[in-house]
Symmetry: C2
Subunit: 236 residues, 2 copies
């Protein structure tokens, strides 16, 4: 049940861990400066660059703050960061031991509602491809997805048979994005989603919304609604 590495790390990771230990044991107090890199290099008998590497990793996870000339100090408010992997639905389902499948519920090309176009920064009534799909695990509804695709940014998508290839899979392979925004929220299941997910209307569902851009052009807005009870977990 233990997932720790059996052998203790060496090199820069050992130094990172030792620094971690000193922080956690309050040997290095919150808010207080820690010895500078050169001194730590002496203590650990290694090069400064090795210490630098170790401390840089700690700074990356928000445990220490570093400033030139001022040195490094233990973060007073360990503004820790949590990292989630943005799931690829098929993998996620299969990792849970389910058989993956998906159904294209709707496909319409036409003017998008203002709610969608404005989220994407496009003029009202812009022509967009609207898709609705249901992702299944062992034949049971797993996640409902409603998506708008800007055909200007992803022209090829109009010729794809999206009942065979999921829009996400196609986009990821064919229209790499340069920037994106991800929003998590909770929402009550409306009629459409309740029906698709097979749950009661008004039930609380976990939503993940993504917008991606290629350069300045918005590519797609997707709202994924998970079946009730879905949880997204990560180690911190």
């Amino acid at each position: 049940m233990r997932s720790d590495p059996p052998t203790p790390p060496t090199g820069w990771q050992a130094i990172r861990d030792e620094a971690l230990r000193r922080i956690q044991s309050r040997e290095w107090q919150a808010g207080a400066p820690i010895p500078n890199e050169a001194e730590l290099a002496m203590q650990f008998g290694c090069a400064r660059s090795t210490v630098n590497r170790a401390l840089r990793e700690l700074a990356a996870i928000g445990l220490i703050e570093r400033r030139r000339k001022a040195g490094s100090r233990v973060a007073r408010h360990p503004l820790r960061k949590a990292t989630f992997e943005i799931p690829i639905i098929q993998h996620e389902v299969e990792a849970r031991g389910g058989r993956y499948d998906f159904t294209l519920i709707a496909r319409n090309l036409g003017p998008a509602p203002v709610a969608a176009s404005s989220r994407m920064g496009l003029p009202a009534g812009a022509e967009m491809l609207h898709l609705q799909a249901l992702h299944l695990s062992d034949g049971r509804p797993y996640m409902h997805e409603t998506r708008w695709v800007n055909p200007v940014a992803a022209p090829g998508i109009l010729d794809v048979d999206l009942a065979r290839v999921s829009a996400n899979a196609w986009l990821v392979q064919n229209v790499p994005y340069t920037r994106g925004e991800l929003t998590l929220s909770a929402a009550a299941a409306d009629g459409t989603r309740a029906e698709a997910l097979g749950c009661a209307q008004g039930e609380a569902i976990f939503c993940m919304e993504r917008i991606t851009w290629i350069g300045e052009a918005p590519v797609t807005l997707v709202i994924q609604s998970y079946a009730p009870g879905h949880r997204m977990t990560t180690a911190i």
Copy 2:
């Protein structure tokens, strides 16, 4: 409105960006190997370690996959990672321009319900401190928090006036954790939370659950329920 750095990056960041550009322009195709570090160092006229640094960053965000001897290749499924900062409520509220305040609703020392103790891996009926608090923004409910604290791992907390100092603030300053787990989900507001948050019972609320350990000992389990409409956003 533009947040890009005005001056283009130099050094390893320039190389990272150039590699990024080649991936996004499909000059380096998804799934295909990219030139090895030594060759790229030649191309860019820099040392291999500089290329190494750049590619390591790209690997860290999941855009390329690296294996010894096999070399680096563009990830076929850009399993991108999203990083959220775990919010410190006071800062979050103030960043949104609100005035922060909080109220301790309940404080009980006694055997914890099985749901809580089992989540923390403690025997049923273990003695724990149970707290309920409401965090306010401009006097309006912002987030409801229910928390169990293991007094064995955080003994000092029993003597703290938790109506003045929030449990989170005290714990963060006094009991650094070595490991944690964070879970996001959606839930329907039960009676307690609906009343506290001033919303209808059954309304969908966004929940963040955290468990932290110090060594092998569980420290605290906290379930934070945000007022309806809360959204958690990050750039990817």
